[in-house]
């Protein structure tokens, strides 16, 4: 318990330390803000996901197939470990939306003819679900409805099995299966161009000639069931019916991306607050150390009059609570505000029925406890030394600081920098630990700035360099069904087309020894000029006459070396299996593709080299006309323009990154300000006498400022390169959290990001130095010289 006079002493001291307390509180607030915002967002998303999956019964296993008779359900139900089975009819359709140059695509899913879905239920946002017997009624996924302003009673054009139909929207819905609605094969979500629609089973069955049959099945497992066993049993059962291979929920695209995003957020929420809390602990230690060294005599007096070590320690630790209270309040407020906006940003991409920022008492308590622990830890080391001091010794002034000549000085540094420079240098080297820790604190802030920006740089570099190098086409044309290679020749003759090349993509299951992955086999002409495959190091890999090229990541997953044979099971048509030789590796940023010459695929499929897509290089001015013409062709399902895709991806990421940049600048500046300001205050307090003496000797204000600020400048200049390096390392560390099988962007940090991080740290440090310089200008020479120390 603290005595009240002692409490009053504490409060009075706070007044003279208000700048320092404010800056430490700010750093602590940064830690609490980032902790609450990130952990809170993480927890909110995690909870929302679990509740959503649970309430709307998201299946645990998914499989698609060509066609199986409905009675097969009983055999699936009889598989050991299966609790519930739901079959559906699922088809891809195009939606020729009015006013859109390119059609939208939709996945059309059936709803049970009677009753509600046992699995993958829908959450109705407005309207209702289609009723039995109404052929044209459709429910639309909210993201698409929102992007087009569609509401119940609106109409939606859809090309179903070649026929244009006008569907009647009766409801706008959300589905746990499509929290993130990504079109298969797309790089990013595009709510304008990808929809999921639900209609009556009977309507779809008759439209796609699947009466009494299904082509999509979802399972719920019994508690404790072995997922791999169920998956392989289901695969065996569905194989004769054209099963594509069952996948567990974690490989389902929406859940996979959501979980990946949560993993990254979880990693960030561990890394970022750590920087702040470590810096806050260091600053607390710095300030208290100085305060205690100034108050040696007071501590001795307190001891002399009978205060116990615990009471004295409690008194100084009380300062921690004065930092923690404003820091905590500000941090909680900032955390809630940032958390809400983060949840809002995530909510725009990941659609949940009820997503709000949950601020739990335990989260606040954890944030405060961790902050208290970090600040107390910093304070403890300072206070520990104070209470250990025997009172009689504390009564005497501390021994004068010891300075030594360093090696650099003996080598003639003094001649270079003059006595002022030497003062700066000796001060720095006398406290190497403090200099190092200060620099590390600033470096941590610089690294945070890099961490906040590297995603944008890496994406830019990927889009501008990697993607542009690998893909040299202007337009990519996808066909609804594989077409004859003659079509490519016809495309090449269109006015404005410079080059046209065909490409064939088929789904494959790749095996090597006991390892297996699902992938795509891409057949390309050996003379291709529009698609460029490169190996690590950037040199071009030609398509081999025999054998296949494998993406480096896939090769690593499968443990394949050049010369090994791979087992490729083609997952369409006759489902042949081949065992080509791996002749080389391709370094790609996305996917796990296998490349082969077109001839190999033509042999496998027995279709004389049909193509599923064409790549075109076109005269820029002719591009719009060519696109218009291609879109009118019934064979074409999509024409995409690489440059507009890149632009879109950029815009989307850009706005997201701007928010992050602003947040990281604010947070990093508070750290730098805290470190530099506190160091400067302490340097001023410790060396006020020296500086006043210099003024008495005739030095100008700016000259003594240089002595004071010189040491800080050394710390900042030392910190910046470390921070830039640390930022790169953290970014790489962070990138490891990203699913390597989907994206493998090299961590690239643009010079402008390095420049930004350096500029922000110099500005923040400069502001702090100026703030302290004002006190230097007010230095009372006589009073300082009279002070006893």
């Amino acid at each position: 318990m603290m005595a009240s006079a002692l409490n009053r002493k504490l409060l009075r001291e706070v007044k003279s330390l208000k700048g320092q307390i404010a800056t430490i509180a700010l750093v602590l607030a940064g830690g609490i803000t980032s902790f609450i915002a990130m952990r809170g967002t993480y927890a909110s998303l995690d909870r929302a996901r679990d509740a959503y999956y649970d309430r709307y019964r998201l299946a645990q296993v998914f499989a698609t197939l060509e066609r199986a008779p409905e009675p097969l359900v009983h055999r699936i139900e009889a598989l050991p470990g299966v609790a519930l089975v739901e079959t559906r009819v699922s088809e891809q359709v195009t939606l020729p939306m009015e006013g859109m140059a390119r059609p939208a695509y939709a996945r059309l899913l059936s709803l049970p003819s009677s009753g509600s879905s046992a699995l993958n239920a829908l959450c109705v946002r407005t309207g209702r679900l289609p009723e039995g017997g109404r052929d044209d009624e459709v429910a639309v996924l909210e993201s698409f409805a929102g992007a087009h302003g569609l509401r119940p009673d609106d109409h939606l054009p859809a090309v179903i099995n070649g026929k244009l139909r006008k569907l009647h929207i009766v409801g706008v819905v959300l589905s746990p299966e499509f929290v993130y609605a990504l079109r298969p094969g797309a790089m990013f979500d595009d709510p304008q161009r990808y929809a999921v629609l639900w209609m009556n089973r009977s309507t779809l069955s008759s439209a796609f000639r699947l009466e009494g049959a299904f082509n999509d099945v979802s399972l719920k497992l019994q508690p404790g069931a072995s997922e791999p066993t169920v998956l392989s049993a289901l695969d065996r059962l569905l194989l004769p019916y054209g099963g594509d291979g069952a996948i567990p929920r974690r490989n389902q695209i929406s859940d996979h991306l959501l979980t990946g995003e949560l993993g990254q957020l979880g990693a960030l929420s561990g890394m970022v607050p750590l920087v702040f809390l470590a810096v806050a602990a260091f600053l607390m230690n710095l300030v208290l150390n100085r305060l205690i060294s100034l108050q040696r005599a007071e501590i001795a007096t307190l001891k002399a009059v009978g205060y116990t070590n615990r009471e004295i320690a409690g008194h100084y630790l009380g300062l921690v609570s004065l930092v923690l209270i404003p820091g905590g309040l500000l941090g909680i407020a900032g955390g809630v505000a940032l958390g809400k906006s983060l949840v809002g940003m995530y909510g725009a991409i990941f659609r949940f029925p009820n997503l709000s920022f949950d601020l739990s008492a335990s989260l606040i308590a954890t944030a405060l406890l961790v902050s208290l622990a970090s600040a107390s830890c910093g304070a403890w080391f300072a206070v520990g030394s104070a209470v250990k001091l025997p009172p009689a010794e504390a009564m005497r002034p501390p021994a004068p600081a010891r300075y030594r000549q360093s090696v650099l000085e003996r080598l003639g540094l003094g001649a270079l920098v003059g006595p002022n420079g030497l003062m700066v240098w000796r001060e720095v080297q006398r406290r190497p630990l403090r200099t190092l820790l200060s620099s590390l604190g600033i470096a941590g802030a610089v690294a945070l700035l890099i961490l906040g920006r590297f995603g944008l740089d890496s994406l830019d570099s990927y889009l501008e360099r990697t993607l542009r190098r690998e893909q040299r086409q202007d337009l990519a044309v996808s066909f609804a069904r594989p077409v004859s290679p003659r079509v490519v020749g016809e495309l090449a003759r269109l006015p404005g087309v410079l080059t046209a090349e065909g490409q064939r993509t088929v789904p494959v299951r790749v095996r090597h020894e006991h390892r297996m992955r699902d992938s795509v086999l891409i057949g390309m002409s050996r003379t291709t000029s529009l698609r460029q495959l490169v190996e690590r190091g950037g040199s071009r890999v030609p398509i081999p006459p025999d054998g296949v090229l494998v993406t480096t990541t896939l090769a690593r997953i499968l443990g394949v070396n050049a010369g090994d044979r791979l087992e490729l099971e083609i997952r369409e048509g006759e489902r042949p299996t081949v065992r080509p030789v791996v002749v080389g590796f391709v370094d790609e940023s996305m996917g796990l593709s296998v490349y082969a010459p077109t001839e190999l695929l033509a042999d496998l499929e027995g279709d004389l080299g049909a193509v599923s897509a064409a790549l075109l290089a076109v005269v820029p001015s002719a591009s719009p006309a060519i696109q218009e013409r291609l879109r009118r062709s019934p064979q074409v399902i999509d024409v995409s323009e690489l440059s507009s895709d890149i632009q879109r991806l950029r815009d989307m990421n850009g706005s997201f990154m701007d928010v992050w940049t602003l947040v990281s600048i604010t947070l990093a500046s508070s750290v730098i300000l805290g470190v530099v300001y506190n160091n400067a205050r302490i340097a001023l307090s410790a060396r006020g006498r020296d500086l006043a003496s210099l003024r008495v000797l005739g030095f100008s204000r700016s000259e003594i400022s240089r002595v004071l600020i010189g040491g800080l400048a050394i710390e900042v200049l030392f910190a910046i390169p470390i921070g830039l390096w640390l930022g790169k390392k953290w970014s790489e560390q962070f990138m490891l959290q990203v699913d390597q099988e989907t994206f493998r962007w090299a961590v690239v940090i643009a010079p402008r990001t390095y420049a930004l991080a350096s500029a922000v740290s110099l500005l923040a440090a400069g502001a702090a130095a100026l703030w302290v310089r004002r006190s230097l200008d007010r230095l009372d020479l006589i009073a300082v010289l009279k002070t006893r120390e």
Binding site: A3, R8, K9, A304, V305
Partner: protein
Amino acid sequence: MGFAIGARVNAPNPQPDKRRAVLSCSGLHKIYRMGEVDVCALGGVDFTLYDGELLILLGASGSGKSTLLNILGGLDVPSAGTVQFGSEELTCADEDELTSYRRRHVGFVFQFYNLIPSLTARENVALVTDIALDPLEPEDALGLVGLGDRLDHFPAQLSGGEQQRVAIARAVAKRPSVLLCDEPTGALDFRTGIMVLDVIERINRELGTASAIITHNAPIAEMADRVITLADGHVQSERHVGRRARASELSW
């Protein structure tokens, strides 16, 4: 061992003197290690402070008198020898026990006052009364030293003499068994010094607190009951003063 609540001193007096001993020490040695050399601050000091007595420890700078006072006050421990407070042996006390000893029984007055600059006069005294068992009111303690009208002044708003009187008020507010004053006039001019000594003398007389004053200023010795002169860490002489002079009669 413990300095329990209200453990007033009732030890049998080992000295032939009939008065009750408050503090006594024998064979006190204190050796400081300064770098490579040992400095002997006290080389075997024996003496006793009696109840109600005003004792002056006289000595030049470096004679070991501050070291002796620090040891008597439980601020420092001797290298050899014993210190007795009543029947309790201070030399065996651990840090907590020394703290408790200082808290209950010792009032300190320092040469440089050692007031907390961020606290007012009243609050500086409250610092002690907050943790003492049966203290005076801070206002009464300050009244005793003639500062009843300066209660809410900060140290920086007080003169040196006033600051020292606040320090004395702080020391006596806990009703200590012993009052230990280390060069209480060392930082003061003559007139103020006399005023401060007058306060100490009055406290000694009115409250009967055993008081030891360390000084290098020989004329002050005239106000004592007994004067012990220290030189080079040894007791050089001991003298009983026949008639205690009033502080106001002193001059230097």
